[in-house]
């Protein structure tokens, strides 16, 4: 592996680059695939907002029928922002690691499975949010995000222990420690929202939207370039 001939630094530089490039390509492809799944799941959410039927419009008028769709808009907004936040954190996590192993791929696959499932509870919540059994829809909706937060937590813990780039700068290690601290809040908060959904679906969903905004604003991590 020692290609340093006659003390020429360029060769060393190139080799080092190409090695990083190889590892980057490996994680890059898994990230690219994950990104596509996130993007599609987010975009599919809009399909679940059904345009009002002609019968409904004949009775209430178009403007009022559209206004009556507010649970759909709210569910769309909450799910979109939540998946976007997951994507940002996922993307950021991939910026810290340089290699990928079997357990990580399992966790990542599980996370993608859960994310692609999100349009279903979103549509269910939109349809049944004003129904007497709205609590059941809220249970499933928030339960899904609770499981996602747990899956992400496992993914992050594993990555932070095993996959951190061996030559990570201390800046990155500080970032990682800071993130671990912040992520500690995710599952408990979603667990609280899940518990609340058995008491009041309205409050639990408001908390769910607040959590998405909180993680978007307060916990938006980005690599300093």
């Amino acid at each position: 592996m020692n290609c340093e001939v006659n003390g020429f630094p360029p060769l060393v530089c190139c080799q080092d680059n190409s090695m990083h490039m190889h590892e980057d390509k490996e994680t890059g492809r898994v990230e690219g695939f994950s990104d596509a799944v996130f993007a599609i799941a987010m975009t599919l959410l809009v399909i679940e907002i059904k345009i009002p039927s002609h019968e409904q419009v004949a009775v209430n008028g178009l403007a009022q029928s559209l206004a009556a769709l507010w649970p759909s808009y709210l569910a769309f907004l909450t799910s979109f922002v939540t998946i976007l936040v997951i994507w940002v954190h996922h993307h950021w996590l991939f910026g810290l690691i340089r290699k990928i192993d079997h357990p990580f791929l399992y966790c990542n696959g599980l996370l993608l499975l859960l994310v692609t499932f999100v349009p279903f509870p979103t549509a269910l919540l939109a349809e049944y949010s004003t129904h007497p059994e709205a609590k059941v829809a809220a249970n499933l909706y928030i339960g899904t995000f609770l499981v996602i937060s747990l899956a992400f937590d496992v993914l992050w813990r594993y990555a932070s222990i095993r996959l951190l780039s061996s030559n990570a700068t201390s800046v990155k290690k500080d970032e990682a420690a800071q993130i671990t601290k912040q992520y500690r809040f995710g599952p408990p908060l979603y667990f609280a929202a899940f518990g609340l959904s058995f008491v009041s679906e309205t409050l639990s969903l408001a908390l769910c939207l607040l959590l998405a905004l909180f993680f978007a604003l307060g916990g938006w991590p980005i690599r300093k370039s």
Copy 2:
């Protein structure tokens, strides 16, 4: 960090490249994710063109039933061209910047949220364009594009002030100034179309299609390579 040994230019060249490459990768991933969302939103539009029912065909024949779908075709065309124009400008904006920060990510996320929403007002307009309350559908449709033009304006202003590559050539700075001038027309024109949609839905939608074509033809920016 100083790898310049014995004054070898190759090493300097490599380092400079790899630094740009790192920054490019950062913006490249956010752009790749955004591109996927744009592409899916554009492609989902066709799902909203519903094939005519057998009952309708039994009465009017297939050819006439297909002709009666003209509002769907027109809405599809207008939305497709508008999203394509947004994509071109978005892509072009990313070519001018080299780094990304928190506020930019918020604005970009908001823009993506609005773009993924477009298939809903498009389907609504196609369904209710010949209905007595067509104005409401036109309001929502053009209102959506008005909000998108505002979001894009904010994104561009922020990027042009804060994120322009520090070593941008004067050519790029001229381009940026030119774009700022051109973008000044976007929100007012969409605001005019929005106002017009309260008077005549037909005229407002014609204006909306004209705006898409105007920005496509007149304002198609591309980096000179």
Copy 3:
């Protein structure tokens, strides 16, 4: 621009690489976006194959109801193979060019518009292929591919005249000439199929599937690496 210091070839090599890399990135992004549109249009085709209703199954049994969907399968297959062939040629065309300009972007956008439209005539053909007015569905279906072949022809002619890499090897120029010759057959053949669709929808669709396979097998171009 002359960085050749002390006759060191490495620097020259690096610069040349980075210049190509810049141009490649530009075309690469437009190609990546186009690829996403192609991939989604191909994958959305399956949504149009509707599973048989319980009423239908109660009368005819599940196996026979599934067999009765053969027009859907055939339309799915024909559209998939045709879009795949368009993608291969599109991808190959991008391998020959190094830069992109305004008219090329218009043509490419038009091609994407037409490709995203394909799921609609595909679903229409599947639904009405055994209807007395099946010819109308065949007209629209084959007419769409005729327009696509014309749009691709324009795209190719423009690219081959204006955008061929200035330092293209003679091998590439030979390939380009060969392709131009081959593409000459596309529009006339689809025009013939379109004309035939007014006489016999069955024959015209068989020809359409044959054309897709012909271009897939006979005309599959690939860059020799």
Copy 4:
């Protein structure tokens, strides 16, 4: 092609890199396109889980109506995991090859065609899994995966014989041999599941899910970086 001037190793290194980069780009684009198709097919699966109707909920309650959707969840899970496993193997296969030729592109296109078809038998199985004719749905579902396993087998055999990087390390060749041995089990096992689906749809589907998990856990190959 001999650019080795004055015995400078840097130039040789760069050229070698750029050559690999060119070949990587070629396979990379086909892989990127395939990845998009895989991601979309996986994400579209959720659209087939239909939310319970208000009539059904009025009779059974929301919780029970959701529980009654278990065949949909199971079909979603099985199809998702199976496509994910195919993607992992596909991605891994592309890591071993450096070039692409016509027959490989045909096989890859056929594999993509089959993968995009998966949402249809998945929806069919979910809808008819408790129907007297459930065996027919299971036949089609498992039959689809049997054909996919055959298509992947052909793709792999062809690639392992013809497209292995000429300068593949012996480690890679060992990996390839090991994979060939493992893949020998795919088609026979799916053939067994297919046969079983004529006897008991429940057992055959359980076997199908087990196979997906077996290939996910036992046969998860990853390049050691």
